[in-house]
């Protein structure tokens, strides 16, 4: 049986002979996403929420329809979706407009990316982290203990680790946090392209994610917030489109989500974002394919002498980190790149977990729908060549 080749959906793979294994940094974009973005610029380019002419109306409608689609995709209501530049800005928004005035401590996992560490530090919040076992799984008892000791804590956890692919049991963690009266934000940057996310089922108070890791454009993301929580949040930035009435004495703000969308928004990106999720919704068996590729990659990587993995956990998703003993990860990255294999090496913007593991960084393979077993085999072959040159 001829299986569908997802690479055909992406111009990138027509223009290059690259094995792309860096989708956790950013995924490639299918042509249908680029097409809808181009269509906005070439046939109805106008500003939204202002101009009442025909193309202005169409642009506003496409933008708001996109919001509605994105909301539905994660089981939310459209008024609970605030557009941001990405996951990072979404977390900064919550830190500044919600957490800063209400909480003094933030509880994080030790696997967090810098974007779920630094925004809290910027607001002067104290950070506590949850202990893990040797396979990097969260210690639930330690989590409960932290919540007990820190009654005024906000919880912010990654759904999937960007460096090690660990899937955190977020539903369970949210449940535990709520039983202590704590509110929870989930960083969904690495999850949205791979897992079916239902924010109501998770009962997350906030869920932040980006388009660009899920086949969408860069520069756009979304914050989901329970509406009652969004209503409590102060505006983040001031400007056009977020106000109801302005005088030099005082201004009245619109209700969420528009309250948090000051100035002209990334209109074509929002339209591309929704289209990317539509593309994702048509993909069949994403999770099974991820698991199959992960198992295949691990099995073949394990044949390389002196390879080091950092977790034996089986709840891994799409991101796999390793090192070869005695060889610097950046040397491997350089030599793989010269052989047309693109993957990421380094600390993956998650320095605290690297320090905890007492390493400078790792080589990371990350998958998306277009990756195949052949890609993995090409990578392994190139990796063996790199190791040979470096030994």
């Amino acid at each position: 049986m001829q299986t569908y080749n997802y690479k055909d959906d992406f111009e990138f793979f027509k223009n290059t002979n690259i094995v792309y294994l860096d989708s956790a940094a950013t995924s490639q974009k299918p042509k249908i996403v680029l097409d809808v973005m181009q269509l906005y610029y070439t046939s109805y380019c106008s500003n939204i929420h202002r101009s009442s002419h025909e193309t202005g109306d169409k642009a506003t409608r496409m933008y708001e329809d996109s919001r509605q689609y994105i909301a539905k995709y994660i089981g939310a209501d459209s008024k609970e979706i605030v557009f941001s530049r990405g996951t990072t800005e979404a977390i900064n928004l919550v830190a500044q407009s919600y957490v800063k005035e209400r909480f003094d401590t933030v509880i994080l996992t030790q696997l967090e990316h810098h974007s779920n560490i630094v925004p809290w530090q910027l607001q002067g919040l104290e950070i506590k982290t949850i202990e893990m076992d040797k396979d990097l799984n969260i210690d639930l008892d330690a989590f409960k203990e932290l919540l007990k000791k820190n009654p005024n804590a906000f919880v912010s956890i990654t759904h999937v680790s960007n460096s090690f692919g660990i899937i955190n049991p977020v539903k369970q963690l949210i449940n535990i946090a709520h039983s202590f009266g704590a509110k929870v934000l989930v960083d969904g940057a690495q999850a949205i392209a791979h897992l079916k996310v239902d924010v109501k089922d998770l009962d997350a108070d906030f869920y932040a994610f980006s388009a660009h890791k899920a086949y969408g454009p860069t520069g756009i993301g979304a914050l989901y917030g329970k509406y009652e929580e969004l209503l409590k949040m102060k505006p983040y930035q001031g400007g056009g489109s977020m106000i109801e009435d302005v005088s030099f004495e005082r201004s009245m703000y619109l209700d969420p989500p528009l309250r948090f969308e000051a100035g002209t928004q990334a209109i074509s990106e929002v339209i591309g974002f929704a289209q990317a999720l539509k593309y994702l919704s048509h993909l069949k068996g994403v999770e099974d394919k991820d698991k199959e590729l992960m198992a295949f990659a691990k099995e073949h990587l394990a044949t390389i002498p002196r390879i080091i993995f950092y977790t034996q956990a089986t709840n891994l998703l799409a991101n796999l980190s390793f090192n070869i003993q005695g060889i610097h990860h950046s040397d491997i990255g350089t030599l793989l790149s010269k052989q047309n294999i693109m993957l990421r090496t380094g600390h993956h913007c998650a320095m605290p977990i690297m320090k905890k593991l007492n390493i400078e960084g790792t080589v990371r393979i990350s998958f998306a729908i277009y990756n195949t077993k052949e890609d993995i085999l090409r990578c392994i072959k190139a990796l063996k060549k790199a190791v040979e040159v470096l030994s």
């Binding site: 990860h329 950046s330 030599l335 010269k338 052989q339 040159v389």
Partner: protein, 139 residues
């Protein structure tokens, strides 16, 4: 000029390789020849932090001549450092200042001049030029 001459020598050597992996093997071999840096300078004070690899850089002057001592934790970076040391160390600062940075492009390594902060090499080149300029200005 010695600096330009060295750059051209390396360029000619590198042009010899058709296969990119052979070229990197040569660079890795150069790295093995890099003189060991005095442990005194392998500390955070002398560290140029890249998000991929580290470079330790010690610049000093002796009787009006600029000297470069450096190392890295990565093999390929070490090899590239070897070339930079050969090009710029034991040189009249005036000559360094007069050699345009873009001459290094001839070597064909994006790693050296990349604006990213990946490996500390770009910062190393910047520091060599700044130090050479300071020495020259002080004269």
């Amino acid at each position: 000029m010695k600096t330009l001459q060295k750059i051209n020598e390396f360029k000619n050597q590198l042009d010899f390789f058709d296969d990119v992996m052979d070229k990197y093997e040569y660079i890795i071999d150069l790295g093995k020849k890099l003189p060991k840096i005095d442990p005194l300078y392998k500390t955070d004070t002398y560290l140029l932090r890249g998000c991929q690899s580290k470079v330790w850089l010690h610049l000093y002057e002796k009787e009006g001549v600029l000297f470069v001592e450096a190392s890295s934790d990565a093999f390929i970076v070490k090899g590239l450092i070897y070339m930079l040391v050969e090009i710029y160390s034991n040189t009249d600062p005036k000559e360094v200042v007069q050699t345009q940075v873009k001459e290094l492009e001839k070597l064909g390594f994006v790693e050296i001049l990349s604006q990213g902060r990946q490996n500390g090499l770009h910062a190393m080149v910047d520091k060599i030029y700044a130090f050479a300029k300071d020495l020259q200005d002080a004269k």
